[in-house]
Structures are given as C-alpha cells and as structure tokens.
Symmetry: C2
Amino acid sequence: MDNSRRNLTLEEIGRIAGVSRSTVSRVVNDLPNVRPEIRTLVQSTIEKTGYLPNQAARALASRRTGLIGLVMPTGVDELFGDPYYSALVHGIQEGCSEVGSVFSIFPVYEKQGQTTVLSTLVAQGFVDGVIATAGQRSDDLISALRDRGTNVVVVGHPADSRNIRRVDVENRIGSAMAIEHLIGAGRERIAFLGPTAAHIYGTERLDGYRQALDSAGRTIEAGLIELQEPTVEGGYRGLVALLRHRPDAVHVATDTMALGALQALRDQGRTVPDDVAVVGFDGLPAALETSPSLTTIVQPVSDVGRTAVHLLLDDERASDVVILPTRLRLGASCGVSNPV
Amino acid sequence: MDNSRRNLTLEEIGRIAGVSRSTVSRVVNDLPNVRPEIRTLVQSTIEKTGYLPNQAARALASRRTGLIGLVMPTGVDELFGDPYYSALVHGIQEGCSEVGSVFSIFPVYEKQGQTTVLSTLVAQGFVDGVIATAGQRSDDLISALRDRGTNVVVVGHPADSRNIRRVDVENRIGSAMAIEHLIGAGRERIAFLGPTAAHIYGTERLDGYRQALDSAGRTIEAGLIELQEPTVEGGYRGLVALLRHRPDAVHVATDTMALGALQALRDQGRTVPDDVAVVGFDGLPAALETSPSLTTIVQPVSDVGRTAVHLLLDDERASDVVILPTRLRLGASCGVSNPV
DNA sequence: CAGTCGCCTGGGAGCGCTCCCAGTTTTAGG
DNA sequence: CCTAAAACTGGGAGCGCTCCCAGGCGACTG
C-alpha cells in the first residue's frame, strides 16, 4: 500500500489501470457491466494505490452520504451511564451495518444556539438522516428538524408528533400486562409509581394501569398513584409516599425507579414480594441483578434502534409510526414462580 | 421561514436578492468586501428562505468539512459509564466550539473489518481529523490511520507512537509527586498498585514510583509492586495481595482501582489513612465521594480534549507531542491535613 | 482633471464524484 | 454469415460550492 499524502482520484486510477473513470466507479461501487478480468485489474490497482473515494464528492454527486446521526440533546453526562442509551446505540449500530451506513453520535450541548448549530450541520449534506430521542429537552429540536425538512426519525413520543416518523414501544399495553399479572397473582391494592407528566411514556404507562384496573372492574384510588422524577431517588421517595396507602403491589414504571423503590421497601422493613409485589418497566440489565430479581416489562430497545434506521432510510414510507411490542419477564419480585 | 423540501443554492439566493453567487457566498461566510446594505439584504433573504449551505459541496470545494471525529474502538458498553470518557468528550466539545468545528463520536465495534470500514469513512472527506484514544484495542487502528495519511491526534500513548501527534499527561511526574508526598508524610513502606504492563500509562506511573523512591534513597521492594487489571475488582485483588508485605502506604495508579483498594482495606479491617495511606491517580469525580475522600493525582482530562482539537487543526505543527501537567489534590486518605 | 488606489462585484474554473447516454464490442439467434 | 439484442465502455454534464481574477466604480492625490 502506498502511503502517499495526496489522494488519488477515480480518473487517475483509471489512467493507471488503462480504463475510464466510469469503469473504475463501477468497480468501486460494485455495479454490474464490467468484464471480470477488468474488474480484477482495477481492484488490484485500487489495492496497490490505497485509493479511497472522496466522500464529499460522492455526497455532492449522489445526494447521499451514507452517514446516519444520532443527536443527543441530553448532556453527555446523562448519556454516559444510562444503560438505555447503550442498548439503543447498539441497535442503531446493528441497523446501520445492515443497510451499509455509518453511524455517528452528535452530542449536543444546550449552550447558546446549539440547536441552531445542530440543525445547520444536520440539515444539509452531512448526514442522510437523523435519529433523535424524544424528551423534554429535545422536543424543540425535533420540531425544528422536521420544519427544516430534515430526514428524521424519533425514538419515543415527542410532545408534537405531527408529521414525524417515529418508533415507539407499547407502553400502554405493557403496563396493562403488568397490572393484569399482579391481579392474576391475587394482589388487591395495586399502586402505580411513575415519572412526572412531562414524560409522555409515563403518561401512557399510567393509562395502561388505569385501563387494566378498569377492565378488571376495580376502582382506581388516587392515593395509590405517585409520580416522581424518573431516577433512583425518585423511586425511593415515591415508594415511601405510597406506603401510607398500604399497597400490596406496585407497578414501578421505570426500572431505574424500581431500583430506588426496592431499596425503600428494604429500608422500611417490607419484604418483596410477600408484603409488596413489584413489577418494573424497561428490562434494563440492572433489573436482573436486584434481590429479589425484578419482574419487569421488557421493551426491545435494541430492535427500536434497528427499526429506526430502517424507517429512516425507507423511501416507500411504508408506515410513519412503528410501535414495537413489550413483554413480561418474570423475576422473583412479583411472587409468581418462574415459568416452565 | 419557508419549509420547502428542496434546498436552495447560492445561485438562487443571489437571483432572489439580485446579486451574484459570489456575493452571497461572502455573506454566508462572513467575508469582507460586501457593502453593508447589500449584506443586510442578502442576510434577510437567507433568513426568509431558510437557506442552508450544502456541506458536501462546501467540503468538496474547500477540502474542509468542519467535522472532527472521536473514534472509540472500545465498545460502547465501556464508553457508557466511564467518567474519564465523559470528561474527555466535554473537553473535545469545548475545543471544537472554540475553533468552530462540529464534533461527532464514531463508535467502532470490533466485528469483521470494522477497522477497514472506519478508516474508509474517516480517511476521505468525512472529517477534517480524528481524535483517538490509545489503548490495546485501538493501537492497530491508530497505526492504520497514520499510514493512510489521516489527520489524527492520539490521546495517551499508543504502542507505536512514531510519527503520531499526541496529547498526554505527566504520568511519571504525577506518580513521583504521589510518592514524594507519601514520603513527606512519613510513610516507610510505600507500595505501588497499578495496571498490567499492557497499559503504557501504567508503566510510566510505575517509573515515577521507582524514580521517586530512588531519589529518596529508598530501596525498591518487588513485593510492594502489584499489577492488576485497571478495574475496581483488580484494585481489590491487588490490595489484598499487597497486604502480605505490610505496606503503610500505597499509590494506586488509577482511581478506579483505588475504589476497589479502599474497599479491600475496609474489608480487611485496616483504617485509612492510619494503617495504610492511599494516593490515587486520575482525579475522577468518584474520588471525591469515597470515605475517606481520596487524595489523588489529578490529570486535566478536559484540557487534554481541548488541546487535542487544537493540535489537530494546527497547521503550523508547533509541536507534535503535548504533555500536560498533573497535580496533587489532597483528600483525607493520605493522612495529611488539607492545605490552607 | 487625469491617474492611482482601494473597495466591491461578477463570473470562470474547478473540487471528484455519479448519472446517463451514445457508442462499441460481444453474444446469441436465425 | 448476418442481424438483433445484450453486455460493456467512455465521456459529457452536472452536483453546489470556493477560490481567484478581471473589471467597475468612487475617492483621493497631485
């Protein structure tokens, strides 16, 4: 391999191999209509010269870059450490390699006009499309991208979801499953502990809770519903508040909160699942390591990432919203023995 | 703002404003030689039309993209959760906004030929330059990038550092400071607990330990040197092993290992700093929250990131290697009262 | 009032690629 | 062996921008 500074062009490779720019282009892009021996010849001169196509020129001519961006309006501090994002990134990565794109994370800080900076970059030519996660801080950005005509797919449910393609999970059905499971386990006073109303997924999960109780003919007791920040601390506080209303089960709408809730139950001398059964939501890895292990509603985070990539690159626009199913994963925290 | 699908071009903006493509370009790029009233006029039509320059065309013509990439050959799982990376990313982000570049993280998985994929992307036109962190897994990649002629700056010390611009910290001097501090505190049997030899920074820190003891006229006892994986567990194991040689102080060469070491000391019934003084290395946030709080050698991670960006974009190539100083931060784990 | 300089302005010439079409060669068919 | 179709090949015409140069114009000089 030649380590020359300057990069060669298609034209030059063609000159060396004794063919035209077009033929070299066909070989590089693996297109048909090249005689096998010519193809081999060209391939070997590409190899020999260490030629790499210029992405800028390619992007300009073809109007595609082969780059997909994940914008993260959450600070990097949150990103680093949240297992949800880790799984999501994995899924996106997988999806990208399936479609032959490259994947890159654009961390966005909220300082002055960063949103502007971002849409500038993203809007024109840098990327083929953008995946963004819904959340209070990103919703403005998402709307801005949509209004700019940027190819964007949202993970989750932004406040303004008009005209936005998105991938989400069955929040409502998932939480309903959790409640049905607890009812099936003979629980009478089932509480809900979830994130504040600012988080749309939380509202959806609360809806599922309400619907499931309703369908079972139970009354919904306001005191058995507690909303807190979706953090470990929020879970702890929320559970302490709930205990005053003597629940015998609680559906904690995020596993992170469930971690706090389990700790609170321990500190308050309640045993899980005997005194209080717990069912989480999310299916984070940490939920497998609690004691007792957490029964939870698993969302297919990795599939969400993969699906987002495909949706982003799907020209046919088969569907604008894809909702992926959630499933119940039994642990020991709900008082039901593991399935066969 | 007009949300038309198709993006306008410089030429079209010019036509609307009644000026030429060149003048619009001057306004967009904030170049001189435009009459103020014309500038205002053009700016307002740009505003009105929502025009954004095409980055691909710009990159092709100017040979610059304004994008800086951080390649992460460590799996995303490691990345997510390592506070070192979090600080580094912050620093790079800062540096980028200082020079007006955009910053993007390229996660690289080690699957088949990902290295190839990466250098393809990175080598041509996508980015102006790449920042890579040194480490066993990334060293091949770094060499490959260098050989391709990619503009690259390495953070840390790769195995093969010939012809590579890099930013590093004073590992040797830092550890020497730690030892001098412990000597000054009256410690007699000072141990070293660091990462295995595969980690070059660890070797440098061990060198600092040796030099400082040497300068103080002390003998170096092989049993007081212990190398383990640079994890919390490694720190725990390493400290347990060291205790057989009755140290009254230990310099743990990474704060992560120090976390494990402190736990081990606690489990073994030793008090810190009375029985064993501890000085760490890195200055991670977690070191502030241990009990007792960890005295440690702080490396300016954020500055490392900023410096890397400037080095990457520095045409003059003022210097090829920048070594940033480390400093001692006093905690309670070394048995010296806090400074005034 | 001519000459010079500076500030502006417009347009040509690419950057290296893709896309498309017109040619040329090969292959198959009659 | 001729012809039609298929397979292959080369080059023109951009993609939208930057860079550079030539020219226009007003202001200042002597």
